[in-house]
Symmetry: C2
Subunit: 528 residues, 2 copies
């Protein structure tokens, strides 16, 4: 499998379009064939109209068919893993093992969400049966459930070329919920995107699904994404990327005549609080663990630990010294794009000039797109007074914040911005006393971690990948990872007074799908 360089518009391909671009190999510092033309406005419109025409069929598509389709995409990804990973290695500079693992995770997500679609419990079916004789007024029959929201747009992310791109979590959860998907490919890995897109399209054909189920659009700039978010027929948007990009899309969507939700996961600083007891118990293991978590993937994870909060003590200073030695000895690795390397340089230079901030550790970098750990330290008083220090630097740079005492550490916790994760490392004896700290962090993060590290994300029923703004655009009410991700693509509909033949199967008396339903206030899988 090799990419051709064309947008996939329903079952067809895009016309000549606008400015072309090529992928860039950040490790070898060269452009890669083929060229990808930016999609033309008429092809955007065609992709949207095809999605609109596919939406009614998708809204009625049984969960079992959605599941079959998604499982076939997963199989397709696995069967072409070598071609996919070869292209993705060129386009992202990520190592083979990581990319193979990511294809596996992507297939796993598709299967987990397929199971949700098939099982249907997420639909929140609720039934209140009629009471025709109720006084003073009869009670009508009410049956309600979640229903797919309609055509959605997904923006591929730069840092997960598989798991949060063309057939990634947003696309998989939207398919599971019953929505046609238009993907705007990330321009950093267009070839990988096209290959995955063709595997999705193969599954569309193999399952006999309507044209418009899926389209994949390329663009060298921002115009196509903006046009999609502003198109009146688009009902919701999924995005994983920068705060600036996510906020721009959210603002566009909020200003539409009909505002729509943008589910933007915009990264975060992921504070890690390391308490005295943890240092006393396991200083060496902690510095190994934190070093690994902060350097994996060249720090290019949205859960990268970007803020390390400690109380000043000899043990803490020794811990940071040991960590510094490991950081300084860390070999450079290739960043995803030349632009990211440029931003990393400029953001770390800016940070180095902030009052009260000093360089803590710097490892050697020689290649153009390479980066290596570049850490800073400061006192809590500077951190609390300077918003710049609360901002994420994407890449292998973290900030150590020194607190004078417990009270100052709690103040830092209370003044944090929203984050995807927040971590506490405590010793056995002090663990039970961390309630105040944990409560503060639960106000600030979608996932609070005890004696663990933020990187490495389970995709499960219980996981939450969310957080108050600026971690996500919707304040952490939804998650972009885990089976709860389906809820983003649905709205509530209640059927009043309907007879069986007009009700969706989910709401029928016989409960043909065997769903768990809330019937007159009690959860049951029984028929009425």
């Amino acid at each position: 499998m090799k990419p051709d360089g064309g947008s996939l518009i329903g079952f067809g391909s895009g016309g000549p379009g606008g400015a072309s671009f090529k992928a860039f190999d950040p490790a070898r510092e060269c452009f890669i064939e083929p060229s990808f033309p930016s999609v033309a406005p008429e092809d955007i419109e065609r992709a949207v109209q095809l999605a609109v025409s596919a939406a009614p069929a998708w809204a009625k598509l049984p969960g079992a068919i959605r599941a079959k389709f998604m499982r076939l995409i997963a199989e397709n990804l696995e069967s072409k893993i070598d071609d996919l990973v070869a292209r993705a290695m060129q386009e992202t500079g990520l190592p083979e093992a990581r990319l193979k693992g990511e294809v596996g995770r992507t297939a796993g997500q598709l299967r987990l969400y397929a199971e949700s679609a098939e099982r249907g419990d997420w639909l929140d079916v609720r039934i209140e049966t009629a009471q025709p004789d109720r006084q003073p007024l009869p009670k009508p029959d009410h049956r309600s459930m979640l229903r797919p929201i309609g055509p959605v747009v997904v923006f591929g992310s730069s840092n997960f070329p598989f798991a949060y791109s063309v057939a990634g979590g947003d696309t998989a959860s939207a398919f599971a919920a019953g929505c046609p998907v238009i993907v705007k490919a990330h321009p950093a890995h267009p070839g990988t995107s096209e290959l995955v897109g063709r595997l999705v399209l193969h599954a569309v054909h193999a399952c006999g699904l309507p044209e418009g189920t899926f389209s994949l659009l390329f663009d060298s700039g921002f115009a196509v994404g903006q046009a999609l978010v502003q198109h009146p027929a688009i009902k919701a948007v999924g995005f994983t990327g920068s705060l600036r990009g996510g906020r721009a899309l959210t603002d566009l969507a909020a200003a539409r005549p009909e505002p729509i939700p943008v589910y933007a996961e915009m990264g975060s600083v992921n504070p890690v609080f390391i308490l005295p007891g943890a240092l006393a118990e396991r200083s060496a293991a902690l510095s190994d663990g934190l070093h690994a978590s902060a350097t994996v993937g060249v720090g290019q994870f949205c859960t990268n630990p970007g803020l390390i909060v400690l109380q000043r003590s000899p043990a803490a200073e020794q811990f940071i010294q040991a960590l510094t030695a490991k950081l300084t000895a860390t070999p450079e690795a290739t960043m995803l794009t030349a632009g990211m390397k440029k931003a990393f340089v400029s953001n770390t230079e800016k940070r180095s000039r902030q009052p009260g901030v000093t360089l803590l550790a710097q490892a050697a970098t020689v290649s153009a797109c390479g980066a290596a750990p570049l850490w800073f330290e400061t006192e809590a008083k500077y951190f609390l007074g300077n918003h710049e220090l609360a901002e994420e630097i994407f890449g292998p740079s973290s900030l150590v914040v020194w607190c004078q005492n417990r009270a100052e550490l709690l103040t830092v916790a209370a003044r944090l911005e929203g984050s995807l994760t927040a971590t506490v490392h405590a010793g056995a004896a002090e663990a039970a006393e961390q309630g105040d700290l944990v409560d503060r962090l639960a106000d600030k993060a979608g996932r609070v971690i005890f004696n663990g590290f933020p990187t490495g994300l389970e995709v499960s029923h219980a996981i939450v990948h969310a957080g108050p703004y600026p971690a996500t655009s919707d304040g952490g009410r939804s998650t972009s990872v885990g089976t709860r991700a389906l809820y983003r693509w649905a709205r509530l509909v209640c059927y009043q007074g309907f007879s069986e033949e007009l009700l969706p199967p989910e709401l029928q008396r016989a409960n043909p799908l065997g769903l768990r339903r809330l019937v007159n206030g009690e959860w049951t899988q029984q028929p009425l």
Copy 2:
């Protein structure tokens, strides 16, 4: 109980404040004592800071205590029903029976949402237990649930002085979810608002809840509401009212440095499709039912049937003739405010001037704030080409849309804007063939009604009071009525790797609250 005319700021009262206003009696056309000063900026700030300081205690308040508090508010409302209704009658012009019924509904809502808080099933607790030996990486323990979002602001509505005002559905669901509430009273019924606010405050004291649990703010204009929505410590907003008001608040909230959700229910046209078979079977009962639904409360319900869609036929013309006779003979009744009467006059005048629109029925009106049915009719071709005809007129005015045939009727259905409800009346023989119409309407409304009428709203687990924009600001993903309303005031939090003593009781191994939890993919009430 008589109102004093002061904002309730935590346990204290508001200072002198800004411009004062009085309630207006729309039936007797006179102002009513006392004066209510607009709350001063420093009192707004105090109310918010008190809510901020109450929020952590509220986040940990057991559901059983929340429930006790809410049930006490319900009891207080019932025990003071005569005082409440006497004042509300003066301020709203609504009849005694309706207002007594509304107090009952408000108490019922409080008790239903109290039961949800106590039961805790809405918290969506999910647990994935650790697998320390999993290869290649151990699986950590993940436990997640919904957690209250923090201080919220509720705007009282004009048309439900009890059920969607100070202790109404938004406030009750926010308390049930665990959030402190600041209510901005609707200036049309400040006395009623103050009396209810004092009953809420009584329950706060009686249950020993913290100051800041509840505040009630008065304002003659918009400044206080705007300041609240823009305050950085406010995390969500509930609103029931006009499209213009709701959109203004939604835009303000979306433009904040940290955007927050505004759950605005903004009314709708609630289309009613009357099919040939229904007319053949029960023309007289239909015109009685539609007349009652369209005139109850002088048409001042957000579920008022504002659009009647029919295929042209002798039977349909006869039906509309009979309905017209009833409409014309309907006595006038007092609208809620002088401003609403003014808007009704101006909106109906504007509609009467639209191309293709003719007057269908007009009943006599003599009093200044009185209104009576004033209906129009038009052809589908005019309706489809003129957005003004798709807009709601608040009050007793509906538009009959004549279609030439079934295809045109389906086109009207497909081109509707979002609505809270959509209704189909069909005869027995044609019912089974309405799938295409019902599917179109399910795309457009939060509640689809078969052979019923849109007014009259059950408050239950299964009800949905929502709909795509412009019916609601969030596209119908949440509901403002029914137990799902709690979800609006919460966000997801996952605890990773925690030991028992630091976990909230909802997530503990022993399941001390007896919650239904998703444990390793299966729903169970058992301990781990």
